[in-house]
Amino acid sequence: MTTEERGSALVESIVAIVFLILLSLGVAQLALTLYGRNVVIASAHEGARAATELGRSEQEAEAIALRTTRSASGSLVDDLEIDVLTEPAGEDDLIIVRLSGRLAAVGPVPITIPVEVQASSLRLGEVE
């Protein structure tokens, strides 16, 4: 092996290692993104559910849904926006929580991923 070839192998190794490291970090970012999306979905649902308790007004429902969502999703979501709607569903009310935000970049790729979820829950009109 000549001096020139020795240097060539070194450069190749470095390029390959850097590529594999970036690949691994990308996989880690994908995992965290999937986890974050699941948490956002679940927290929107928890918010909708919390808002269905008897005697809650729509404003209280929104505050509860927002608090639940923020505490559950933590710093995973930036620019969190929440919208709570109440629609009649027969004798009951359907609470709809629409949650949108951006999943924070936690890996090597500095991009945020938009997420928008909707969850609903029934507020029973009359407890038998």
Partner: protein, 139 residues
């Protein structure tokens, strides 16, 4: 090392890396679905039990369990029709009665890019919740 061999190790490493990424991403997708299903079945069982405990009789409780579990699963993007929801409660739903709700959901491990899930083996995610009728409820 000949001039033909130069760069070959690099190409091999890249090809190997790309080949490794496929099963890793597949495992990640399945695990993410298992996680989502675990969150969904837990919510479904808990809320179905809660609503059943507030129902006046078994008929209303059955309706509540079905409706609530389906809604909870739908909120997580899952098909309620695929879920296995079972529940049991004593006749009459007396004060302090124990209501047990079981929710199971199959997560398919067979999926392909652009095709999504196809029929094949599944991982069953199960959740159980035990609720009690309020001992001071009006009956």
């Amino acid at each position: 090392m000949t001039s033909d061999e130069r760069g070959q190790a690099l190409v091999e490493s890249l090809v190997l890396g790309m080949l490794l990424i496929i099963p890793i991403v597949w495992v990640l997708m399945v695990l993410a679905d298992v996680h989502r299903s675990a969150l969904a079945t837990t919510s479904a069982a808990r809320e179905a039990g809660f609503d059943a405990a507030r129902s006046g009789d078994l008929t209303a409780a059955a309706k509540s369990v079905e409706r609530t579990a389906e809604l909870a699963l739908a909120n997580h993007g899952l098909d309620g029709g695929e879920a296995n929801v079972r529940w049991s409660a004593p006749d009459g739903l007396e004060r302090g009665a124990r209501i047990e709700v079981h929710v199971a959901y199959p997560v398919s491990v067979m999926r392909f890019p652009f095709l999504g899930e196809v029929s094949g083996p599944s991982i069953w995610v199960r959740s159980t919740h035990i609720a009690r009728v309020d001992p001071f409820a009006s009956r």
